[in-house]
């Protein structure tokens, strides 16, 4: 009953396709993402691990430069994507320029349009948008069985999710406006008795395309059956506060947090081990109140507990260790409860 781990999450949620790891900086989001992806891939499924964090450390974890290199297979079936948003933006904008030139058979883009493009590139939220679109992109392609997203720290992570909400409302609204404008055009034409051309508005088509992507992605990530939002936290005051605030903000967005992963929990045996120095025991004890707080506040949400490792989780070997803990935690809820001293 009290066994925990992602194994059970996947058992309970057979339709689960997307796992998103969010949380404060330095709590092990990227490690968890890498580990879960690794585990799923080792079971023979195609997995994409995608870091949306601009301080992406997937390269560090897999000890291989992945930044801006596209989808790289780092282990059998395990693909990793660390996008270079700036590069992506540059390419995207260039394609728009090309399209304008082709559409109107011009060599030079009109000044006000060019000004607009340049200003768009520099817009503060452009970076996030590009990352967001990359997420939409890989999911829309549907090449993988599972997608694991590593979100940027706190504010930006939530915003990335909020973006799904805003963007789909936005695209809905402008779609409505465009459609209404065309309706009105058609109405005027009908009153004039002009032959009614079946409207082939290219912009509407483009909008439909954008809308299709945004809305279906937004639907997907807000679908509790197919997407699991997971907060990673460590037994520290700030991490707990962050997690609470994140859950609150998620609820404001109408989303539900699927679970929390508790990372860096000192193995309880350390306390009983006579070989452990007082210093270490003190650290274990210092962690206790926070473990208790986590247990009390998030008991129903805890999906996995990762013990404090004796080394930095990098390299496939270390990832494998974390992966096993994530999949079936050696510390189950009972052990956790024991830790709280009740």
């Amino acid at each position: 009953m009290s066994r925990i781990g992602f194994k059970y999450v996947f058992e309970r949620m057979p339709e689960l396709r997307i796992v998103i790891f969010a949380g404060k900086g330095g709590v092990g989001k990227t490690t968890s993402s890498a580990a879960l992806s690794y585990k799923l891939a080792s079971m023979g499924r195609r997995v994409l691990c995608f870091s949306t964090d601009p301080q992406a450390s997937l390269s560090d974890i897999f000890e291989r430069n992945l930044f801006g290199k596209g989808e790289i297979e780092v282990a059998p079936n395990l693909y990793v994507l660390e996008i270079d948003a700036d590069k992506r933006i540059a390419e995207y904008v260039e394609s728009i320029r090309r399209k304008i030139k082709e559409m109107y058979k011009i060599d030079e883009i009109p000044r006000e349009v060019e000004d607009y493009i340049e200003s768009a590139v520099a817009e503060p939220a452009m970076y996030e948008s590009a990352v967001y679109d990359a997420m939409v992109d890989v999911v829309a392609e549907g090449k993988y069985d599972y997608y694991v997203f590593d979100m940027p720290p706190f504010g930006h992570g939530i915003r990335m999710v909020a973006m799904a909400d805003i963007l789909s409302k936005w695209v809905d609204k402008i779609f409505e406006a465009r459609k209404e404008a065309l309706e009105l055009d058609a109405a005027a034409a009908r009153l004039k008795g002009e032959k009614l051309l079946e409207y082939e508005d290219q912009m509407l088509k483009e909008l439909e395309y954008i809308r299709g992507r945004i809305v279906s992605f937004s639907r997907l990530i807000t679908d509790a059956k197919r997407t699991a939002f997971t907060m990673v936290l460590v037994p520290e005051r700030m991490a707990i506060l962050d997690t609470e605030k994140a859950i609150e903000m998620f609820e404001e967005l109408g989303l539900k947090m699927r679970g929390v992963v508790v990372n860096q929990v000192y193995p309880p045996q350390l306390l009983e081990d006579p070989r452990a120095p007082d210093y270490l025991k003190k650290r274990v004890l210092a962690q206790r109140p926070y473990v208790r707080e986590i247990y009390e506040k998030f008991r129903d949400l805890i999906v996995a507990v990762i013990p404090m490792l004796n080394r930095e989780p990098k390299g496939l070997e270390a990832v494998r260790i974390v992966a096993e803990e994530l999949w079936e935690s050696s510390l189950d809820l009972g052990a956790l409860e024991a830790l709280t001293g009740r």
Binding site: E112, I117, S129, Y132, L191, I210
Partner: protein
Amino acid sequence: MGERKGLGFLSRIKDAISEAVYGIALHGQVASIKRMKMYTEYLFMLMTIGDMMGIPIVPPYYTLRLLPYMVPNIKGWKLRMLRERDVTDIISG
């Protein structure tokens, strides 16, 4: 206009009358509908390329994708949107 020349006086009268009837019955409404469309377009443009008038509204990432189709409308849109209007402009129709 050129085509009509050969059609003779009577058919010219007929055309004139049917145009006048259209003017009485429908022109005003078509004008109102066009104006409504114009305002609807305001919203659309504001929400997409508002930055172009210094009104940043949403991150322009997806807007860029629409930009190519907007290119021919931008000038007219700016003119219409920024023209100062008075109540007496909108009485008719």
